[in-house]
């Protein structure tokens, strides 16, 4: 059944057809980016939302809200999440993608605006080994 479309083909087709969807992908959505990073780091660690919540002494519903992009965690809570998931927050000067030994380490950058309107850059290093096969290039 080679004629069946794969994930990349379907995503591309929908993006090609829908300019609003393209705009949505280009938008910098902090809640979404953080949600995605936390979910990915949790997946790498093999924790359920409940287990992560227990380790953070919080409720599963709180993790669910964060991962759905319904709430934005404080930076201190984000650091706590990173610690529990065995990863860390890195400063912006790190490249967005670099090679560590034989593994490609993916780092996604997140922009956090502080009260003075100055952009501060943070990113979570997922330390995830990735083939990169499904990373859509939207440029």
């Amino acid at each position: 059944m080679d004629s069946l479309q794969n994930l990349f083909e379907v995503e591309k087709e929908l993006l090609d057809k829908n300019s609003i969807l393209r705009d949505e992908y280009k938008k910098i959505d902090l809640s979404f980016e953080i949600a995605r990073m936390v979910k990915e780091a949790r997946l790498v660690k093999g924790y359920t939302q409940g287990k992560l919540a227990d380790l953070l002494t919080t409720k599963q519903t709180g993790i669910s809200r964060l991962e759905r992009g319904l709430s934005l965690p404080s930076l201190s809570f984000l650091v706590k999440i990173a610690e529990v998931l065995g990863t860390y927050i890195v400063p912006p000067r790190a490249n967005s993608m670099y090679v560590n030994g034989s593994n490609t380490v993916i780092t996604r950058q997140v922009i956090v605006s502080d009260l003075r309107g100055v952009d501060m850059y943070y990113s979570i290093n997922l330390a995830a080994v990735s083939s990169g096969a499904y990373r859509a290039n939207l440029e």
């Binding site: 069946l4 994930l7 979910k39 924790y47 759905r68 096969a133 499904y134």
Partner: protein
Amino acid sequence: MEIKFMSSASRRCYVKDFIGKQAESDQKQIFSDLKLVAEYGYTASINAGMLKSLKGDKLKKYKIHELIIKTANASFRILCIFRNSVCYLLHAFKKGSDGTPANELSVAFGRASYLVSIL
């Protein structure tokens, strides 16, 4: 792991059509979650609670699984089967009440039966 979208004999792609009808922000989140499943595979997705094997004698025949996708606006389920390290997406619906409605399972079962017959 590769993810493929099942099509009917008349080339209708059910899950693609379903995703295309959702709000753009939901589409983005759905693809984001599907990419995580594709990237990290079956075991990691099961362990993280993103993927669940459905119970029931009828469903066990094809080992139908449920992908759990929660976005800011809604909760979605995508029913799928796994064959030779490929995840085939059969049916998707927006989740309402608790449990997976019998009619949705029935649709997925019918599609699984067809797909397995042609694979």
